[in-house]
């Protein structure tokens, strides 16, 4: 086979692979669209335990995330940095996905969502590349502080944040040791592709998952955050380690014993609801009002019998951006693209067969 023929064969093989990939993705979209479209929306105030679909706006629960590429407050992000001239280059690519627990609110009430194990369908909010001369895209605003932030920043905390001088990021170390570690400002002449999908407070989402009493959650702490570790405290090995640590006295029995002041609701991320124990020289903290305390209590304390939304082995949690019709339609669109992918794969295979048998040459 001559040079041009070989190139064509490679191109057609790529067409077959791309077509099959689109088809597989489309099949996933079909299943998601069916799952969203075939479940009726429950009103939160009268929700019943079991598989449900809930639709509404999301709001922060206890804490929020700060996205790595745009420093935007959010409840979920999936960020990636791909280096090289195009996305096919595999080198020091990196991606990061995180989520924290949140509430979804409809016109009748709100319900807490524990996102561990969820499948996310979030919109891409930032998709840009470095310029021709290696300059960073205008929308890039890399996170320089903690990945976790409070839901409400009071005046004093906001002033303190403004007055805090943070070191400029270097190649050696980044502030949080995550996605941005080792990536300095400026691309050093190499092209980079930045992409960030997020869900932020106020976004409309559709959630399909299992409504269950809070007390039925095997591990609320693990269920509340999706950091991609994949190992929960219900893992037999982890559970054995925890039991051993508890027996050895390394693990405290209650939060007050383990964390001291940090166990007081509102301490460190707002106004504490009761007086913390501080050094005599330390400035006394202003306590929250009764209203603050009630709000903090509502935010941090969940009644054991209250229904929450979480993933279950038979009903994985699905969190999709947009109202049900929009979310289902988007996934149906993915299925249609998948069918076109099948056509592409078949066409490419036919053309490859003709090429191999010498059809194009003659």
């Amino acid at each position: 086979m001559e040079g041009s023929g070989f190139q064509l064969a490679v191109l057609l093989t790529a067409g077959v692979i791309a077509g099959l990939w689109l088809l597989a993705r489309g099949m996933g979209g079909y299943r998601t669209a069916t799952r969203i479209g075939d479940t009726g929306t429950s009103r939160i105030a009268t929700i019943a335990a079991g598989e449900v679909r809930v639709s509404g706006r999301i709001e922060a629960a206890e804490v929020m995330l700060i996205s790595p590429l745009q420093s935007a407050p959010c409840l979920y992000y999936r960020s990636s940095i791909v280096s090289g001239d195009d996305d096919l280059v595999v080198g020091d690519d990196r991606s990061e996905e995180r989520a924290v627990g949140f509430r979804i609110v409809d016109e009748t009430g709100d319900i807490r969502v524990f996102p561990r194990g969820a499948r996310w369908d979030a919109p891409t909010r930032f998709d840009d590349r470095t310029g021709m001369f290696g300059e960073e895209p205008a929308g890039l605003s890399r996170r320089t502080g903690s990945a976790i932030g409070p839901t409400e920043v009071d005046q004093e905390a906001a002033i303190a944040a403004l007055l805090t001088v943070r070191p400029v990021a270097t190649d050696e170390a980044e502030a949080d040791g995550s996605l941005l570690s080792g990536f300095s400002a400026g691309s050093g002449g190499r092209s980079r592709h930045y992409r960030e999908a997020r869900l932020a407070p106020g976004d409309e989402v559709t959630i399909v998952g299992r409504a269950m009493p809070f007390s039925d959650l095997a591990d609320p702490t693990e269920a509340d955050a999706a950091y991609g570790s994949g190992v929960g405290t219900d893992d037999p090995e982890v559970a054995a380690d925890i039991a051993e640590a508890r027996e050895a006295g390394l693990l405290a029995d209650d939060p007050e014993e383990a964390w001291g002041n940090a166990a007081i609701p509102g301490f460190g991320i707002g106004r504490p609801v009761r007086a913390p124990e501080l050094d005599p020289e330390a400035d006394a903290l202003r306590l929250g009002t009764a209203e603050d305390a009630a709000r903090t209590e509502r935010r941090f304390a969940i009644v054991p019998g209250a229904l929450v939304l979480a993933s279950a082995p038979d009903v994985p949690l699905l969190i999709a951006h947009g109202m049900p019709g929009v979310a289902a339609g988007r996934n149906q669109g993915t299925f249609m693209v998948g069918l076109l992918g099948a056509v592409l794969a078949i066409g490419s295979a036919m053309a490859l067969a003709i090429l191999v048998s010498g059809g194009f040459g003659s």
């Binding site: 479209g37 479940t39 598989e51 078949i346 067969a353 048998s357």
Partner: protein, 188 residues
């Protein structure tokens, strides 16, 4: 095997995979819809049973003071007695509608008796029954929505041939037609 026949085989296999996937996914979707519909119905039944259990306490609480409103109380009792856990969905819808109407009439009459209305026990019962009424209304809406989705799916492609093959029949909505609703005989 020549390259052309391999390509043809690939095309046929891919089409077969797509058709197989759609059939299996459609079958699974219908099975899931049936489960959701059954669950939605069970949730209505639970709320109907809870309301059924609360009504005697409400009637007993107001009976002494509202001795002159026996018609309304009788109507609530009659509507409650008509409920049967084993009756068909249509009959349940008719009786549920009649009970709701009778309970609303009772609440309207209670408004005329400030002494009854301000009684803590009556107020609690009224609030609880109103909560159950709201729950029944929401869950009925959800059930009917699930039935609509199920009936639509089994009567449209690509599930229609499967419905014919497996004998899937449309489900009944939880609704009573206007002429079937049992109106209370009491006059206010």
């Amino acid at each position: 095997m020549t390259p052309s026949s391999m390509a043809a085989l690939f095309a046929v296999a891919l089409v077969a995979v797509i058709v197989g996937f759609i059939l299996v996914a459609s079958y699974n979707a219908v099975m899931a819809l049936r489960q959701r519909t059954d669950k939605a119905w069970s949730n209505i039944d639970v709320a109907l049973k809870q309301r059924h259990d609360q009504l005697p306490a409400l009637v007993a609480a107001v009976r002494g003071v509202m001795a002159f409103e026996q018609d309304v109380l009788t109507e609530v009792t009659r509507a409650r007695a008509a409920y049967s856990p084993d009756e068909p969905i249509r009959d349940k819808a008719i009786h549920a509608e009649a009970t709701t109407t009778a309970v609303r009439s009772l609440f309207a009459v209670v408004e005329a008796y400030p002494a009854v209305k301000s009684h803590g026990n009556v107020l609690d019962l009224q609030n609880e029954i109103e909560r159950l009424e709201a729950m029944i209304a929401d869950r009925r809406e959800l059930y009917n929505d699930q039935v609509y989705r199920y009936n639509t799916r089994i009567s449209t492609l690509p599930t229609l041939p499967l419905a014919w093959l497996f004998g899937w029949a449309p489900r009944e909505f939880f609704a009573a037609s206007p002429d079937e609703v049992l109106r209370p005989e009491a006059t206010l």
